[in-house]
Amino acid sequence: MSQASAEIIRISGHAGSVPGSGMNREFQVCKLIDTTTCIGCKACEVACLEWNGYTFTETSFDNSYQTMPDTTWNYWNLIRFNEYEHPDHGLMLLMRKDQCMHCEEPGCLEACPADGAIVQYANGIIDFQQEHCIGCGYCMTGCPFNIPKFSPTARKVFKCTLCNDRVSVGLEPACIKACPTGCLHFGTKPEMKELAETRATQLRDVSGFSNAGVYDPSGVSGTHVIYVLHDATRTEAYGGLPANPRIPWTVQLWKKPLRWLGNFAMIAGVFGVFIHYLRFGPKIIEGDDGKLTPTPRPSEEPRLGGKA
């Protein structure tokens, strides 16, 4: 729901060309989260709330340092804590900042039927435009990371905007600004990828984390939020980070083959009716008086469904 002026390249549920596309080739932005230097201080959580104007949420202690069990429609940024017994490294306290991953192939956008409710900017940011949101919640099923959340009061869906309003005027996202340890980085995708790979190499070569790696899942054609993990073979240990996220097959089926099939069926139906008309002519209905009268032409019909 931003008022940003960045270039839009895709629009949900929108037929025809995207206005202004191809006019201004922005670089692709990326947030790098190095979980190996995260200290779980939650400065990013508070910065997110404050920048986006959200306030106090009632929480309760749940045998964890984690603020709440899951992100909510007005709490977009949550560090997930996990006390994990690693077979090689012993006890680890894994802390992963969870928020929208800004997928290159966004399941939310794919699933959304509302024209203009979800856009993907040229810089990679996926942004929800709540004024166009119809509150159907399809984006929630489309997301492999369980990120979009429904607000029962606004009856619309909300999520992290990657601070598109800040980024489009040359600032870093609020979470990046607040991070005290430099565990969060922001820049272009190639830069962040390189930084992440360098760190992962260091972790493998120097720190003894032989499975350290970068999380930039190919199932959604990469993300604009990437992680460095101590052990990239155990992504689920990081607060349920999916190993191989994909857009759900139901959404894929519905939005691609089924939609195509549906469109075909509709066009074929209309075409069939037309052929039928040519071949058999207008349908004759017997009147009460036994006389045959032609059905009225569409232009003459007063209202759809007006007849029994």
């Binding site: 200290i39 201080c41 106090f56 009632e58 202690f61 045998n63 340092y65 006890l91 340890t181």
Partner: protein, 850 residues
């Protein structure tokens, strides 16, 4: 900190122990992460719990709270045995080669030589250096071993006047003399074997060796290139032997040649933005501004005080010692001039008689004990929440019940100003409490200007963002009102001794509202007369000008200075503490033009020791200071902490604040109350006897208080070791007033091991009671794998921990939560004999389901 926050990025090795910087100093912790990322530095975290610092560590060891000296002593032993020591540094920059007096005895039985059991104190005359010359390479077979008490060790019934350090110290540069400091130290810690360390600390031997091997690996084969740092916080100070834990760390850093070096040092992380400033200004009962010693009744006049407190050099004859504290008279006289202005004259000893003399211990726990015993009738509490701070909160609340009055200056209603509403005090009892409480609305941190001194000694000016709301006033305005009205009363009514109040200097432009800029200028100091250069006779400072630094101070009453170490913060060139230059030519994070650092804008203390004896940096890639032969001067990226023109050939010691000129592995007479070398003692409440000397389990110098609240528990009844700590989500007792923080950690909890939870049938989020001999704390259980049961001398011991933040007073968002008992209900008021810090880390409790 000997070094600074930014300097941590220069390190190769970090031992973080007694502190949890990731959670409690998150902004500073970025430099630890930088060192890891940019230098492949290693981080070892030793803590009673696996913390968020441990989460980023290369190695984590779970230690039993209060056994740090055993851990560190074993490290000293390992470093010596494996030649992982800085030999050249050790010989030239420490007192390793100094020979200790005959008659000195190591504490094989838990006691050093000179212990008097009737007064629980030491006669320290044997804790001294032997007088004499060079013993290097001389035979010394006849010297008696230091473990056996010598026959003539019997001390006189009446203590002799305090002995002085000899000017001419006997030494053995080969470090072979059996009574040289190095050999005594080796002997002392030879007892701290990995096996013993395991039995005491609960750290399995293999893990322990891995850790100490990793830490000492920076000095493999004595190579001096690398540097390691030791980082700590109040987890080391809050013990009955806290000062000695820090001493052990200092000894390790001297032994490994890490002091004075970029990426090295002994680094205390202070828990508030300006706690360093408070200490610098004499915030402790036994100190004055700039760490001058407080006068006692025995110091009958200024001359006597200066004689006692001004040291004379004590060193091997061929060496040189700057002995900077020989300037003590200049510091003291300038301070008296700042306090008493024109009333301080040469004739009246600069009004020394006005200054209060400290006749006994007035430290924190004594104030409460005195209030409980009716000796202290009232208290002014500004910027601190005494009830929550504890220790032994119940005792403090009961002391406040007996007080006549209490003034609290705060921005929120707090537990101290509402002590009479503490849990357990009934409405009927509340009616019987007659303490008058005055609550003064004060200004918050963003509403006042002034300087803050951080852990790195950087004095940084801050500006007020907004004015104080409503009737809230600035602290200095409140204090000015009190002072001016008390002075008026003295003027009108007289008194026993009104002079110190009537003559106190109050030379601020607006007496009712003193400006903190003027206070800062007063701290920096100015000259009252024209000052001339000693050699040229030229006037270098005109009367009335701000001093350029403490080197300009005089002992003749012609300079005024409120705090000698702050001299230089606000000079004729302007407020140095307001500088914001971001240039860092050396790349070492010195930032010489950013704010101002005491002393003399030096960023790393003792930086002469970053060079070898010839004046060349140990590591050419981290050049801090060096001897410039052509200029005949010390130069550097940092301000040299040394006499600028002392040629390396003069062999002046780099530790210029010590009369020896060298670092003290052995702390001679007068430095510490409880021993020249640290020795492992058990906490006052411990699950085990001291395995080194069961008959002397605890620190022999600790004296217990005697009120009914001063109870200690036995391991038979209270078998669980408990420690307290802070969380990153909260700031002491304030942020429970801020909804943003409250939602992050909404409720108090107690971290307990999974195994203990199973044993007691406790599940996570169940309400539990933690009971000590002094009180009961109620909160939800946090069942965690991050605390494991430990084997202490073959016995299974559980360790638990609880955060200190929540109390019985907060905001609506915070209310309606269960149990609001202060954590310090549990802690004992037993204190370290040197720093008087209570033992809040490591006491005994039992756990029950609530």
């Amino acid at each position: 900190m000997t070094n600074g926050w930014v300097d941590i990025k220069n390190t190769d090795m970090m031992l973080i122990m007694g502190g949890n910087p990731a959670e409690n100093h998150p902004c500073g912790f970025k430099w630890a992460m930088e060192a890891k990322r940019n230098r492949n530095a290693k981080l070892i975290s030793v803590d009673p719990r696996f913390t968020r610092t441990s989460a980023t560590a290369d190695l984590f060891l779970q230690i039993r709270a209060g056994t740090d000296i055993a851990f560190l002593g074993g490290l000293i032993r390992y470093a010596i045995e494996n030649n992982r020591i800085a030999k050249e540094y050790l010989v030239n920059y420490t007192n390793a080669a100094f020979i200790v007096k005959e008659g000195f005895k190591l504490p094989e039985d838990g006691l050093y030589s000179g212990f008097d059991s009737s007064s629980s104190s030491y006669d320290k005359s044997t804790w001294n250096y032997q007088e004499g010359g060079d013993f290097s390479g001389q035979p010394h077979a006849a010297a008696p071993p230091a473990h056996a008490a010598p026959a003539d060790a019997a001390h006189p019934a009446t203590p002799a006047p305090p002995p002085l350090l000899p000017p001419n110290v006997a030494y053995d540069l080969t470090l072979q003399h059996p009574r040289c400091v190095f050999q005594l130290m080796r002997q002392q810690y030879s007892r701290y074997t990995p096996e013993l360390v395991e039995r005491i600390t609960g750290i399995p031997k293999e893990q322990y060796i891995k850790a100490i091997d990793l830490f000492t690996s920076i000095r493999k084969d004595g190579d001096m290139k690398k540097a390691g740092t030791i980082i700590y916080a109040v987890g080391w100070t809050q013990h009955t032997f806290g000062t000695q834990i820090i001493r052990t760390a200092a000894m390790i850093q001297l032994l490994l040649g890490n002091v004075g070096r970029a990426g090295g040092g002994v680094n205390a992380l202070r828990g508030h933005s300006n706690i360093q400033g408070a200490t610098d200004m004499g915030g402790l009962a036994d100190g004055m501004p700039g760490y001058l010693k407080v006068p006692t009744p025995a110091d009958t006049d200024l001359a006597a005080y200066l004689k006692r407190t001004t040291p004379t050099a004590s060193k091997p004859v061929p060496w040189d010692s700057f002995n900077y504290y020989s300037n003590t008279p200049k510091f003291m006289v300038s301070l008296l001039k700042a306090l008493y202005g024109d009333a301080a004259t040469k004739e009246n000893g600069f009004a020394y008689d006005y200054f209060p003399k400290v006749d006994r211990d007035y430290s924190w726990t004594h104030i409460w004990d005195d209030m409980y015993n009716g000796k202290v009738k009232g208290m002014m509490a500004f910027g601190m929440n005494g009830v929550m701070i504890g220790p032994d909160t119940n005792k403090n609340i009961n002391a406040l019940k007996k007080a006549d009055w209490l003034v609290v200056g705060e921005i929120y209603p707090d537990e101290t100003s509402e002590f009479w509403k503490a849990p357990g005090i009934t409405a009927d009892e509340q009616k019987t409490i007659n303490t008058t409480v005055y609550r003064l609305p004060c200004a918050g941190f963003a509403e006042k200007d002034g300087s803050m001194t951080n852990s790195a000694r950087w004095v940084t000016w801050k500006y007020a963002a907004v004015p104080p709301p409503g009737q809230a006033r600035l602290d200095q305005d409140i204090l000015a009102q009190i002072f001016l009205r008390v002075r008026d009363l003295y003027k009108k009514e007289g008194g026993k001794f009104p002079d110190p109040i009537l003559n106190a200097s109050w030379a601020y432009a607006d007496a009712e509202h003193p400006s903190l800029s003027q206070v800062a200028m007063e701290l920096n100091g100015r000259t009252l007369a024209d000052q001339k250069d000693d050699t040229t006779g030229q006037v270098v400072l005109k009367a009335g000008q701000q001093l350029p630094g403490f080197a300009a101070l005089k002992d003749d009453g012609t300079t005024v200075c409120g705090n000698w170490i702050y001299s230089g913060m606000w000079t004729e060139a302007g407020p140095q503490c307001q500088r914001r230059g971001t240039e860092d030519p050396s790349g070492l994070g010195v930032f010489p033009n950013w704010s101002w650092s005491w002393p003399a804008n030096r960023r790393i203390l003792y930086n002469r020791a970053s060079c070898n004896p010839d004046g060349k940096p140990w590591d050419p890639e981290r050049k801090q200071v060096w001897w410039n032969e052509a200029a005949g001067k010390w130069a550097g990226a940092d301000v040299p902490d040394f006499k600028p023109d002392s040629h390396p050939k003069d062999h002046m010691g780099p530790f210029i604040m010590n009369p020896e000129g060298v670092g003290r592995l052995f702390a001679p007479i007068g430095v510490l109350a409880d021993g020249p070398f640290p020795e492992h003692y058990e906490p006052f409440e411990s699950p085990t006897k001291n395995l080194l000397h069961p008959d002397q389990s605890t620190n022999p110098l600790v004296k217990a208080f005697k009120t009914p609240y001063d109870k200690l528990g036995t391991p038979e009844e209270y078998s669980i070791v408990c420690t307290t700590y802070r969380l990153t989500e909260h700031y002491h007792y304030w942020t429970k007033n801020n909804p943003m923080n409250v939602q992050l950690i909404p409720e108090p909890f107690v971290e307990i091991p999974v195994e203990l939870a199973e044993e007691k049938g406790i599940r996570g989020t169940d309400m539990i009671k933690v009971i000590s001999a002094r009180g009961t704390y109620i909160a939800k259980a946090f069942v965690t794998k991050r605390l494991k049961p430990m084997m202490i001398d073959g016995k299974k011991v559980y360790q638990i921990g609880l955060p200190i933040h929540q109390g019985f007073r907060g905001i609506p968002e915070d209310e309606g939560r269960d149990a609001r008992t202060p954590a310090n209900l549990l802690t004992p008021a037993v204190v370290d004999p040197n720093a008087h810090t209570p033992e809040s880390k490591g006491f005994l409790v039992k756990v029950e389901k609530a």
